[in-house]
Amino acid sequence: MKKIAYSPANTMLHALHPFTKFSLLLGLSVSIFFIDSPILMFFLFIVLVFGFLTVCRNPFAYFGMRTTFLTALMIGIIQCTFVKQGSELTNIFGLSITNIGIQRAVLISIRFLVIILCSYLFILTTSPSDFAFAFMQMGVPYRYAFMIVTSMRLVPILSIDGERVNFSQRLRGVRYDFRKPGEMILHMNIYIGAVLYSLINRINKLAISMESRSFGRYATRTYQNPLHFTFRDGIILGIAFLFVLFFYYLKWKGFV
């Protein structure tokens, strides 16, 4: 199993400007809450699955993918079970399953999947430093934009440190027992203190490393592979914008 992280490749999605991808991600994440048609939702889902398959052959090789689909399934089951509106299609052990229940189940579980898959696709195809650069192009000072890169660098390290501290505690007889809240708070306190100590040490070393390599010397910086907002980015953003307009027009007319 692999962790969801940027995976370099030569696909069209990789080649898009991070700003384009980020706009699509934001636009889709907001618009999706206005889609009430399960068919349209399913169409979007299929498009995303194709997007995924161009980036990786087996999406289930990533950590969290199975959990995502299982969660979507659970959401669907809950919707089917508890939505009582509409006409009853069948009755299982006293629980009536209605047509609206099934519609809501498909709609909400696929909506959940689309949002998660979109974010995953963005992470898989966007280098954090390119993302930081895109922010800089948008006028955000690179010191702030670079926080994305440094936090992505530190998060896995912090998680390893946390595991190690937790294991060291277990070796010293620590058991997190919910029946003894006082003891549990004490152990958690000690755990957080040890992880924070380690984190501060690492941040200090990272800061030294960055500053002693001229970070912050100028208000701007160059990039080895500067990104350009291409004609293709413009076309894709334009099409997406027109698509959204068309969708709202159909919605206004009551077609979807």
Binding site: M1, K2, A5, Y6, P8, F63, S127, P128, S129, V149, T150, M152, R153, P156, I157, D161, E163, R164, V165, F167, S168, Q169, R170, L171, R172, G173, V174, R175, I190, G193, A194, Y197, S198, N201, R202, N204, K205, L206, I208, S209, M210, E211, S212, R213, S214, F215, G216, R217, Y218, T220, R221, T222, Y223, Q224, N225, P226
Partner: protein
């Protein structure tokens, strides 16, 4: 570029012990200097001072001056000092700012607003000198320890500094990677006119490269001269163990493992077909970086779960080995320090195991006395020296009288005196019947202490043989770097 250090004194707080004590020295451009000294003697602090980091961190009381070509580094912002000085940190992971090799190499140059074409050229040059061309398109987390160190050095060389400072660049590396770094430095000496300052314990590896050696003790320079004249670099380990053929007759098994396998999901698989360990043995766990030594410890202690296998401890089948029957000491001492005083650090475990009775408290006092920490019971553990922290880790594990002690690379970053001290203590423990499994890199240590060698390669157990037979296996199969006859670097 010349470096001048004048009356440099440093301490963490007023009236506290001096970390650097009136350091005065001159370094001429193009010199290659080796800084040696015990753990905690002030070597890294001196390197930080030369690189300008110590002053600009503003975390202690700093007096004196460091000048680079007459320019005081105290008056120069850190981000400008990098034009003259490149600093390679001890742990490459601490130095990395990016997520992949290409971005890491470009990081400093991009900050200096270097033209993209020039960035590419400088990166290509730096990769060529370090022999790391093939790593350019890799992700940093995929690299081995040696590869990471090469990238760390290349990322500094790309900035074209005149002075290169390396803080124990090989301390976390296996023998093969240490040799690779030696080759990088050799190549550097031939191809670039740099001033190089290296802090290193494995002096023998690098002696041919350096014409001057500075030895530091308690923050003072006590030797500054030609390396071959230094009375300090030819110090060898003194402690020697009697091997079990001569000493230990207890053939009962403490631990046996059958068909043991674990897969981490990233293509790494640990496989141990059959392993039996007797009471009172010292087993050296050897193998290159990434061969599975730490993973082996993780699997037997239940930190990660094996997919298959059976383990017996003292004749009983167990799923995992747990404290207090076993003790485990990690490579990084800070990972096992939680409390605010040395005493609390040890009593924390005792309380958790409900073993804070008079017997164990007395045992803790004996251990504090035996390991030289009896006068520091109220000290903050994080303020102890590196060697003292390691001793505190050992006390925290030994206070439960475990029958099996697991040591994960605890000799890393230790000077020869500290190593000898710990070896002496391990010898004492073994004579008292304790079984020890210790992950190590150095053949000299292996020769001194190991009864048998468990050799791992790419996650697979190649053999578990007595020392002499292991040496023959390595000789026959062409693993020359593991032979104890070879210069150990200690």
């Amino acid at each position: 570029m010349d470096i001048e250090i004048a009356h440099l004194t440093y301490r963490y707080k007023e009236k506290e012990k001096l970390i650097l004590d009136d350091i005065n020295m001159q370094i001429a451009g193009g010199e290659w200097i080796l800084i040696s000294g015990c753990s905690g003697s002030g070597k890294t602090t001196l390197a930080y001072a030369i690189a300008g980091i110590l002053y600009h961190q503003q975390m202690g009381v700093y007096q004196g001056h460091v000048r680079i070509d007459e320019q005081a580094i105290e008056k120069t912002p850190l981000y400008w000092i990098s034009d003259a000085i490149g600093f390679v940190q001890q742990n490459a992971d601490d130095q990395f700012c990016a997520l992949n090799v290409a971005d890491e190499l470009a990081f400093g140059l991009e900050n200096k607003c270097t033209d993209p074409d020039e960035i590419k050229k400088r990166i290509a040059d730096a990769l060529k000198i370090t022999g790391a061309e093939s790593l350019y398109s890799r992700q940093l987390f995929e690299l081995s320890g040696g590869e990471k160190q090469k990238v760390a050095i290349a990322s500094i060389l790309a900035l074209q500094p005149s002075i290169l400072i390396l803080d124990e660049p090989t301390s976390n590396l296996d023998l093969e990677s240490t040799h690779a770094i030696f080759e990088v430095l050799k190549n550097l000496q031939k191809s670039m006119n740099l001033t190089v300052i290296i802090i290193e314990h494995k002096v023998h590896f690098f002696e041919d490269l350096f014409n001057r050696c500075i030895h530091i003790e308690n923050g003072k320079i006590i030797f500054d001269g030609a390396i071959e004249e230094s009375p300090f670099y030819k110090v060898h380990l003194k402690t020697k163990f009697l091997h079990p053929g001569e000493k230990n007759n207890n053939t009962e098994l403490i631990l046996s493992i059958h068909d043991w396998s674990y897969e981490n999901g990233n293509g790494f698989r640990l496989e141990i077909e059959e392993l039996e360990i007797q009471h009172g043995e010292i087993l050296a766990l050897m193998g290159a970086n990434g061969s599975g030594k730490t993973t082996f410890f993780k699997t037997i202690t239940g930190m990660v779960h094996t997919q298959q296998g059976q383990m017996n401890f003292n004749g009983e089948r167990v799923e995992q080995l747990t404290a207090p029957q076993i003790g485990l000491v990690f490579q990084n001492a800070d990972d096992q320090i939680f409390m605010n005083t040395v005493q609390d650090e040890v009593t924390y475990g005792l309380k958790n195991f409900h073993m804070d009775d008079a017997f164990h408290k007395e045992k803790a006092q004996e251990l504090f006395d035996h390991y030289g920490l009896i006068h520091k019971l109220n000290a903050n553990p994080h303020q102890l020296s590196y060697g003292e922290k390691k001793r505190l880790n050992l006390i925290s594990a030994l206070v439960f009288s475990p029958s099996l002690l697991l040591l994960d690379e605890i000799f890393i970053g230790q000077d020869v005196y500290q190593m000898d001290y710990i070896l002496g203590k391990l010898k004492f423990l073994r004579e008292n019947g304790m079984t020890i499994i210790t992950a190590i890199h150095d053949p000299a240590l292996m020769k001194r202490m190991a009864d048998r060698i468990l050799f791992l390669e790419d996650g697979k157990m190649r053999f578990c043989l007595p020392l002499q037979e292991a040496v023959i296996w390595w000789q026959v199969n062409g693993y020359g770097e593991y032979l104890p006859e070879k210069d150990s670097g200690l």
